[in-house]
């Protein structure tokens, strides 16, 4: 497989047929270019390309049919299911995976630290956690001070079989507090 990492898609204008079939994904602020049917198949999902070809294994593929939310990434500011998005649909778009968040991102830190009495921890097995973190991130980017009901609504597309919903909701509210205190939750 050939990958090209460029500062922008415009910088690479390989002539001919290949260019017309080029797929460019901007992942965590870095452009990756693929030639369709040479580097990737048209049927490949965004989840597959991110994980298997680019190594962004934070997102998980569990149900692979849009029912669990474990593969959630942020595309152009919105939470999307990368298993339900073809890589070709993401051509030219801006994608944020959990690897693109800052080490001290308030959502990550709030999920990691969640432990106060009565709520439990925000994860057990942790398989669904990156999906929840990215869904929460998209929510807080759009609405930095959500109510508990708004959190539940936004996160109700993600399944946590360990059942840490009470703590996850609490962690999102804590992340909201952290963002207010720090004055920003910009992408890392």
């Amino acid at each position: 497989m050939i990958e090209k990492k460029n500062a922008s898609p415009e910088m690479d204008n390989s002539a001919g047929e290949a260019a017309s079939r080029a797929i460019r994904l901007r992942v965590n602020q870095v452009w990756h270019e693929f030639v369709l049917e040479r580097d990737i198949e048209p049927t490949e999902t965004l989840a597959y390309v991110l994980r298997e070809r680019l190594g962004f294994t934070g997102l998980k593929v569990s149900c692979d049919e849009g029912a669990c939310g474990a593969c959630t990434v942020i595309m152009d500011g919105k939470a999307v299911l990368s298993c339900m998005t073809l890589a070709v649909e993401a051509d030219g778009h801006d994608i944020l995976t959990i690897e693109g968040l800052a080490e001290d991102d308030p959502v990550i830190v709030a999920f990691a630290e969640q432990c106060e009495p009565g709520y439990g921890t925000a994860m057990q097995c942790g398989y669904c956690t990156p999906g929840f973190v990215m869904t929460a991130k998209a929510l807080l980017d759009a609405n930095p001070t959500p109510t508990l009901d708004e959190v539940k609504e936004a996160l109700s597309g993600n399944v946590c079989r360990c059942g840490c919903y009470t703590a996850v909701a609490q962690a999102v509210l804590h992340a909201s507090e952290k963002i207010s205190t720090r004055g920003g939750g910009a992408h890392g």
Partner: protein, 785 residues
């Protein structure tokens, strides 16, 4: 804020409310699961295996033409039921062990039930792996290749219902093994009537009141997000397996015995697993074997990963229970009898364990004071997906019956069921009333507001059609140490470096239960005499059979304390070794020394002392190693009690049930990690409520085809469905050892369905006895449809 529990013994680390040690790694996506460690990027040359699944509930492959399969570009190898290396594989089952021990082929627990051929020619349920596996450049190619096989099937009659399957004229699921679908006598759990104490008929005749009940558990699925997978490489006679199996040693044993390789030539590596919930208890899965054979055939790494639909490969053991109980007018129970019929599905695996183990255990530690008890159970083959374990071993199923008969009997006696429970139930180590049961039930009653409970159906009506009710159920807790002796050795090791840092080895595959955090805290607690700080401890959480001690199998939540108990022994040994090194320097004998807060001192004259760190730099500078390999303590201590209390609101027009509040109570002995334990108590309710109200595998009964092997049609609760749940941790009972804890993971949901069903009855005065209680069942019970 909740109500934080008060620890019986305040400790520096164990028992605290604190984050998980893997919290940051998991929240940041950095923790690598098996699927993450085995991407195409990591194994560029890797092939992908897919297996043929039967479209028929019962059929045999008469002939298969694989010409087109082999011609498809990208297909690198195939194996069929006719290949010699496949035929050479011994007939097996997928449940060699009860999940905690290590067992060989000859000593597998249910040796009379060797009923599985690895990719054989006979299919016994829709979804059965049969006849053909393909290794190809991609999963897509492998899938396409399977579709190209031309198969001539011989289709047989099938049976799905266990009662039908018990009849002599029923189609036989395993005609090669048995002339009946009823499973043979169980070598582990005993005969069909597996428990007989006193004379139940005499006990019933002496009773003033006799109650009867019936309860049915269907087949909820474990629903782990981390689909089962393995990558196998077979190079230079050495087999290396990466997988999300939670039992590294037993996976090694399985592959070694089935592939006839020396144990030294099989290496199994496991790290984090995304939820287990009992699914992997049938760990001796055929896919490990055919993936290995494909790796041998191709000389390349081969990956097999089930998809979400294939993860519906087994379910909680279904059970149809009938119960009978008799009591004197004062509430003294004279006799109890339980009978269970369990649908084993197409393969026996651990069916008999679920049907007998859970009930036998509750009889031992809960019915010890009931003079007359009889229990019987029958496992029955059908052409449905196999049954297995799911967060417990038959305890949820039994509780659905047990908690019901207590409720029914109490009503007949005009007694509060809490009083009836306290009057009769406890383990043999203790006189009645059982202190743990009393405190758990009283605390639950206080928290739910039990004093406001009305008679069945006699509460106020809300919004013209909505009625409320309260119920509870109780059960013995999950295992104390004496109930874990069949595990064999528990192994841990400390390596104390000269700079005072510690390498902790406590191998166990972290499946989410939080035992890695408990082990980390247990290490800090055990080594507190060295003034160890969290940042001083390195804990490798990868289990590798080539380099690790024996892994403490993550089947059950007892791992939360088993290795920490062993660490107390290892810590004492380490202390002795340090004292032996210090003795000549301080001019005394080792037994005249003690160590506190990182300082070694002469007990009789504490002014003679030196810092441990100073001593360590004067040694040979190798780590001081203390390794412990010990059997679990067999001190009989009984087991504490647990309970769930529920308040529900039933819409009598739509049949919909809203759970208003759950209180989940666990007497834990010692809470090892409070935040983790509460996470279990809360989280278990996703499954508990799901099983009570909506989770169910649905079959097209006419064709024998499962209809909802996916998470759109199989309903799992999301955050929007989750009710208020109050976790209550308690420390009343204590087991053996330093902590005397018990597990709680399995038991967090054991009582939930029954508590909810008793509450529904209390609301509407009609019982629905079959899970899940969907709206149509309520409306039917109310006579509205």
């Amino acid at each position: 804020m909740g109500n934080p529990y008060r620890p019986r013994v305040p400790r520096k680390y164990i028992g605290g409310y604190r984050p998980r040690i893997d919290g940051y790694g998991k929240a940041s996506g950095k923790v690598q699961f098996a699927d993450d460690l085995t991407t195409r990027r990591s194994f560029p040359d890797m092939l992908y295996a897919r297996v043929l699944k039967s479209p028929y509930p019962h059929a045999r492959i008469k002939h298969m033409d694989t010409t087109a399969v082999e011609k498809l570009p990208g297909v690198r190898a195939i194996l069929t039921y006719e290949d010699p290396e496949v035929k050479a594989l011994k007939v097996t089952n997928a449940g060699w062990t009860d999940g905690v021990d290590i067992l060989s082929y000859d000593r597998m627990m249910w040796y009379p039930m060797r009923d599985r051929r690895v990719i054989g020619d006979w299919a016994r349920w829709v979804g059965d792996e049969v006849g053909l596996v393909v290794a190809a450049d991609s999963e897509t190619i492998a899938e396409e290749a399977l579709r190209l096989a031309k198969i001539d099937w011989e289709v047989f009659p099938f049976v799905l219902d266990p009662i039908e399957a018990m009849k002599p004229e029923a189609p036989l699921v395993h005609p090669e093994l048995r002339e009946t679908n009823i499973l043979p006598e169980d070598p582990v759990g005993g005969p069909d009537v597996f428990l007989k104490k006193g004379d139940v008929d005499k006990g019933f005749s002496e009773a003033d009141v006799v109650a009867e009940s019936q309860a049915t558990v269907h087949n909820p699925n474990q629903g782990s997000l981390d689909n089962w997978c393995c990558v196998v490489e077979w190079k230079d006679g050495m087999l290396t397996v990466w997988s999300n199996s939670y039992e590294a040693q037993q996976t090694r044993m399985h592959m070694s015995q089935m592939l006839e390789l020396p144990l030294s030539k099989v290496r199994v590596i496991s790290s984090f697993v995304g939820g287990q919930f009992g699914r992997n208890d049938t760990g001796e899965q055929p896919f490990f074997l055919y993936t290995a054979l494909l790796a041998k055939k191709t000389g390349r790494a081969v990956k097999f990963r089930q998809n979400n639909r294939e993860s519906f490969l087994n379910s909680r053991q279904p059970a149809i229970y009938t119960a009978r109980a008799g009591a004197k007018k004062d509430g003294t129970i004279t006799s109890m009898a339980f009978k269970c019929i369990g649908n084993a599905g197409a393969y026996a695996d651990q069916t008999m364990f679920a049907l007998k183990f859970g009930p036998a255990e509750i009889a031992e530690v809960t019915l010890a004071h009931i003079p007359n008890v009889k229990m019987e159970a029958y496992g029955v083959y059908t052409n449905k997906l196999p049954a297995c374990m799911m967060r417990g071993v038959g305890n949820s199923q039994f509780n659905l019956s047990f908690g019901q008969i207590v409720d029914v009997l109490a009503e007949k006696l005009d007694m509060d069921p809490i009083d009836l429970a306290i009057r009769n139930f406890g383990h043999e180590e203790e006189e009645l009333p059982n202190k743990s049961l009393v405190e758990v039930l009283q605390e639950g009653a206080r928290r739910i507001g039990w004093e406001n409970r009305h008679k069945p159906g006699q509460g106020p009506v809300y919004q013209h059609v909505r009625k409320r009710g309260m119920g509870f159920s109780f059960h013995p807790g999950w295992h104390a140490e004496w109930q874990e002796t069949r595990r064999g050795k528990i192994e841990v090791s400390f390596r104390l470096n000269p700079d005072g840092t510690v390498m902790l080895e406590a191998p166990t595959v972290e499946t989410g239960s939080g035992s890695n955090t408990c082990n980390f805290l247990g290490c800090l607690e055990a080594l507190s005499f060295l003034a160890i700080r969290p940042e001083d401890v390195h804990y490798s959480q990868v289990v590798d059979t080539e380099t690790s001690l024996r892994d403490c199998v993550q089947t059950d939540s007892s791992v939360a304390y088993l290795q920490s108990e062993a660490m107390m022994v290892a810590a004492a040994d380490l202390k002795r070794k340090i004292c032996a090194l210090a003795a000549p320097k301080l001019g005394v004998k080792p037994d005249e020394l003690d160590i506190k807060e990182g300082d070694i001192f002469v007990t009789a004259s504490p002014d003679k002392h030196m810092a441990v760190k100073a001593l360590l730099w004067e040694t040979d500078l190798g780590p001081i190693i203390s390794t412990v390999s010990r059997e679990p303590l067999d001190q009989m201590t009984g087991i504490p009690f647990i309970a769930t209390f529920a308040e529900v609101e039933v819409d009598t027009d739509t049949g919909e049930v809203d759970v208003l509040k759950l209180v989940v109570l666990h007497d834990c002995g010692t809470v090892m990690h409070a935040s983790g334990a509460e996470a279990q108590q809360l989280g278990g309710q996703v499954m508990g409520l799901g099983e009570a109200l909506y989770e169910e595998i649905i079959y097209d009964e006419a064709r024998g085809v499962p209809l909802n092997f996916n998470w759109i049609d199989y309903k799992i609760a999301t955050m929007a469905d989750f009710p208020p749940v109050e976790p209550a941790l308690m420390e009343v009972w204590k087991g053996g050892g330093e902590y005397g804890a018990c597990g709680i993971g399995e038991s967090t949901l054991t009582c939930t369905p029954r508590a909810v069903l008793n509450a529904i009855y209390n609301a509407i005065n009609v019982r629905v006895d079959e899970l899940p209680v969907k709206p149509e069942k309520i409306l039917k019970a109310l006579g509205k449809i």
